[in-house]
């Protein structure tokens, strides 16, 4: 399955978006992965907190390269979740970004391996949900 197909699936769960989280999801709608970067100390963080967790400084939402490396990955065959059951087996991974943050992600494609590179793909979490999100595809080009 590719990202375009994934985002056409009905019934994707949607998040309750807190004020500090809105810029990230707005970024997904614009096709960019926004990572909080502190204006004072320059450090990055994810998930977003709206202020720097280390120094309390204000943060900018900086567009990341949209690439990452798989730190670990598992193929999930069993889940009780109604939506993810329809996608299973799927690949759930911890992805390290060059922007010095890590995030969990769902990887589309065959048998992803640790240390492989992945790229971010954006789309609406099921048509009509009004929330855009991110999944990852293998970068085997």
């Amino acid at each position: 399955m590719d990202a375009a197909t994934y985002f056409k699936l009905p019934g994707h769960p949607v998040p309750e978006i807190l004020p500090e989280w809105a810029p990230f999801f707005d970024g997904c709608r614009d096709g960019s992965l926004r990572i909080e970067t502190c204006r004072d100390c320059g450090r990055t963080q994810h998930f977003p907190r709206g202020q720097c967790m280390r120094c309390g400084g204000a943060v900018d939402h900086v567009a990341a390269a949209g690439q990452g490396t798989i730190e670990s990955v598992t193929t999930v065959s069993y889940t009780k979740d109604a939506f993810f059951r329809t996608v299973a087996p799927y690949h759930y991974a911890l992805i390290r970004l060059p922007e010095r943050v890590k995030m969990t992600g769902l990887i589309l494609g065959d048998a992803p391996q640790i240390d492989e590179r992945v790229v971010a793909r954006f789309g609406e979490l099921s048509e009509g949900s009004g929330v855009w999100g991110v999944v990852w595809e293998l970068d085997r080009g």
Binding site: P13, V14, P15, E16, H46, F47, E71, S72, V73, T74, T75, V76, S77, Y78, T79, K80, D81, F84, V87, Y90, Y92, A93, L94, V101, K102, M103, T104, G105, L106, I114, L125, G133
Partner: protein, 388 residues
């Protein structure tokens, strides 16, 4: 022994593995009264209450549980570090007894997750039909508890060559302990056929790598050495306790094979004036077979990445050099959702010498290591039965 040295004087388990007649709060209450009876006191003596509360369809917190039990505490600690909560409150409990802030502390937990089928193994918290809270970030990617632990196991295999056989040995060992525990749930040995047939739920974790989910509760009562002299049970002394929480969610885990056990373990051992060689048995939260392996490395029982080969000589088994989870653990005895309290209850039962068929001979020390979240919050407690 100082008159205010903290001592465990009572332990109690509620009915398990299935108890449709009890609510989660009912488990807390039944286990607490059984612990009080074991200690030869009544709950009216309790002046400190430490509890994650009751885990079920409703999440009843420590205050609700305290009132349910009719307690009038002057100290409440409802720290919610998941499966390590009972260990993580122990430094506070011991300090409160030493300082005189409390005389008698009850630590209790109960769950009706199995009867109520309430355990959410998947996506996290829903509010008004939407994923809520910070766990949402991982839920959108398809997380489950098993999948998160699988990420740790997969990385451990990748870095150190840990194998399915290593994981299987932890599961086999748990069954052999359970065989000696008449109350345990899975008492038959794990056969090669069962291992072969066990399917991946989230690779590399198979069904045999996962703990069970049942109903149950546990309680433990601490008081002063001075008071304990008038009570019936052989005193078991918590020599030291420490906790560490370097992260909570998987995305903040700096290194997938390094946990707070590497901080809490050495701190507890140093406080106790002991080394790992002095520990006679381990009670380590076996949420999954990978968990005790990673914990043993952090605690210092073997080097980083060495836990797989380390256990292959059978040392974790009942007749091994370092028995692990002598009641059968969460893999084979009981896992009502948060196993922390049961690790300490089993350590105390063993050190009293009252563990029956599963008694480990001549044990003088035991280490309990609770793991909460995703190996996130680690609590370590070291017990002895030698009243120095």
């Amino acid at each position: 022994m100082h008159p205010r040295t903290p001592v465990v004087v009572g332990i109690g388990l509620s009915d398990y593995p299935r108890a449709p007649h009890l609510s989660a709060l009912g488990h807390v209450m039944q286990a607490s009264h059984r612990a009080a009876k074991d200690a030869g006191i009544t709950l009216s003596e309790i002046d400190g209450f430490m509890s994650t509360g009751a885990q079920g369809n409703l999440y009843d917190d420590a205050c609700t549980a305290a009132e349910y039990l009719g307690l009038r505490p002057t100290l409440i600690d409802g720290s919610m570090t998941g499966g390590s909560a009972a260990e993580c409150v122990m430094p506070n409990a011991m300090e409160a007894i030493r300082s005189g802030r409390c005389d008698t502390i009850l630590i209790a937990y109960g769950s009706d997750l199995a009867s109520n089928k309430a355990l959410n193994l998947s996506t996290g918290t829903l509010r008004n039909g939407k994923l809520a809270g910070t766990s949402m970030w991982d839920s959108l990617a398809g997380q489950s508890i098993i999948a998160n632990y699988a990420l740790i196991a997969k990385r451990h295999m990748h870095e150190f060559g840990t194998s399915l056989d290593h994981l299987t040995e932890v599961a086999r060992s748990a069954r052999l302990h359970a065989a000696r525990n008449p109350k345990a749930t899975l008492r038959d040995p794990l056969t090669d056929e069962q291992v072969e047939a066990s399917r991946f739920l989230a690779d590399p974790l198979r069904a045999i790598d996962c703990c069970m989910v049942n109903d149950g509760g546990g309680a433990l009562i601490l008081t002063t050495w001075e008071r304990a002299r008038d009570l019936p049970q052989r005193p078991v002394v918590p020599l030291a306790a420490a906790m560490s929480m370097p992260f909570w969610s998987i995305g903040e885990m700096e290194d997938l094979t390094t946990t707070g056990a590497a901080i809490a373990g050495p701190r507890a051992l140093a406080q106790a004036g002991l080394t790992t060689d002095d520990i006679d048995m381990l009670q380590i939260y076996d949420s999954f077979t990978i968990t005790p392996l990673v914990m043993m490395e952090g605690l210092g029982f073997c080097g980083r990445g060495e836990a797989g080969p380390f256990v292959m000589d059978g040392k974790l088994r009942p007749d091994g050099a370092l028995p692990l989870n002598t009641d059968g653990g969460g893999l084979a005895n009981s896992h009502p959702g948060m196993r922390g309290i049961f690790l300490m209850i089993e350590a105390v039962d063993q050190l009293r010498g009252t563990a029956g068929e599963r008694q480990i001979a001549n044990a003088r020390t035991a280490l309990a290591c609770g793991s909460g979240g995703l190996m996130s919050a680690i609590g370590v407690v070291i017990f002895t039965n030698e009243a120095g």
